[in-house]
């Protein structure tokens, strides 16, 4: 199931890059080297509108900063005496939101010496399918009628929108979504190149600060 959803969104990414006149190699290289879809989408979107490199890199860095806590919380589960440290750094490349959700649940049930292999296998399977899906999406987008291309390109914005609405238990997260949804389009009109970073930093920090207050913490579980 996670593979299906992930596959569909990488098909959407491939289609998007085709629609934005990138080459299939560039699309593949992006999935191969980054393998974190929201950042890839922001990168392609901003590069198309000619944003400065620095703005793109900072936006991607902030979007994918979420991988930091994911990696930090996942890797202690696979720590084993005698395993060289570089292996942990290598396997951290396979940390993504999908592989985190899929392995975090299973790892504690496995024997400690099997965990590294499990994470590697699971990660590589998802990683491999994403690469194939990117290429499929790219070529599909060039072959099918325009109506279908539209639907393919629309997959990801819709997917992320619903994904965000899935979990609304944490008050500061909800505020961050609301602030972001308002600031994003507003700032885009004023300063398109830097609007994403400002939206993230201003909206996110405000939401976080409100979440730290008594009101934000009242009666709500953190996750």
């Amino acid at each position: 199931m996670p593979m299906l959803v992930m596959g569909a969104s990488f098909v959407g990414f491939g289609s998007m890059l085709h629609a934005l006149n990138w080459t299939v190699w560039e699309a593949l290289f992006s999935s191969l080297s980054t393998w974190a879809l929201p950042g890839q989408i922001a990168m392609a979107d901003m590069a198309y509108s000619g944003a400065p490199l620095m703005a793109i890199v900072l936006s991607v860095a902030f979007i994918n900063a979420r991988l930091l806590p994911l990696a930090a919380s996942l890797l202690p589960h696979i720590r084993q005496p005698g395993v060289p440290v570089w292996k942990y750094y290598a396997v951290s490349m396979l940390v993504a939101a999908t592989s985190w959700v899929g392995t975090m649940r299973r790892l504690p049930d496995l024997a400690p010496d099997q965990r590294l292999s499990y994470l590697t296998g699971y990660g590589l399977l998802l990683y491999g399918s994403s690469l194939i899906a990117t290429v499929i999406g790219f070529y599909l987008s060039g072959q099918v009628p325009q109506h279908i291309t539209l639907a393919l390109v629309f997959l990801n914005p819709l997917y992320f929108m619903l994904l965000f609405l899935f979990d609304l238990h944490n008050r500061s997260k909800v505020l961050a979504l609301v602030f972001g949804a308002i600031l994003g389009p507003m700032l885009f009109r004023v300063a398109p190149d830097w609007s994403l970073i400002i939206t993230g930093l201003a909206g996110g920090t405000a939401a976080w600060a409100l979440g730290q207050t008594k009101w934000g913490k009242k009666g709500l579980d953190r996750d």
């Binding site: 902030f62 639907a151 997917y159 609405l165 961050a176 939206t199 976080w208 979440g211």
Partner: protein
């Protein structure tokens, strides 16, 4: 191949990849020393959420590329129907995405 940009796509992609790996490597480095329930992690989550929410709304409302050729109301109707299906199906994300995309396809087909 990017029309409006002055830099090479491979450069943008490589830099974006490096910016992504920084988080993964730093996460691996800090593993065991950073609890998921720390204020800093909460802050990172909030920044990511606000940034992506801004991006998603803008991509639906003011898209670039192919989607920019569609009337606003098509995209709003598609997003709204996806949302309705998502809500009615007790938060089935896949079904919501499927129906929303099909609505956009249907609207462009019938136009």
């Amino acid at each position: 191949m990017i029309e409006n940009a002055v830099y090479s796509p491979v450069l943008v992609i490589t830099l974006a990849a490096l910016a992504t790996y920084a988080s993964r490597l730093l996460g691996a480095f800090l593993s065991g020393r950073l609890t998921t329930a720390s204020p800093i992690v909460d802050w990172i989550t909030c920044v990511t959420y606000a940034l992506l929410a801004g991006l998603v709304v803008r991509m639906i409302w003011m898209p670039i590329g192919t989607l920019a050729q569609t009337p606003d109301w098509w995209r709003f109707a598609a997003a709204a129907s996806g949302l309705i299906v998502f809500t009615l199906s007790r938060k089935n994300v896949g079904l919501g995405v499927l129906v929303g995309s099909l609505v956009l396809m249907g609207l462009s087909w019938s136009a």
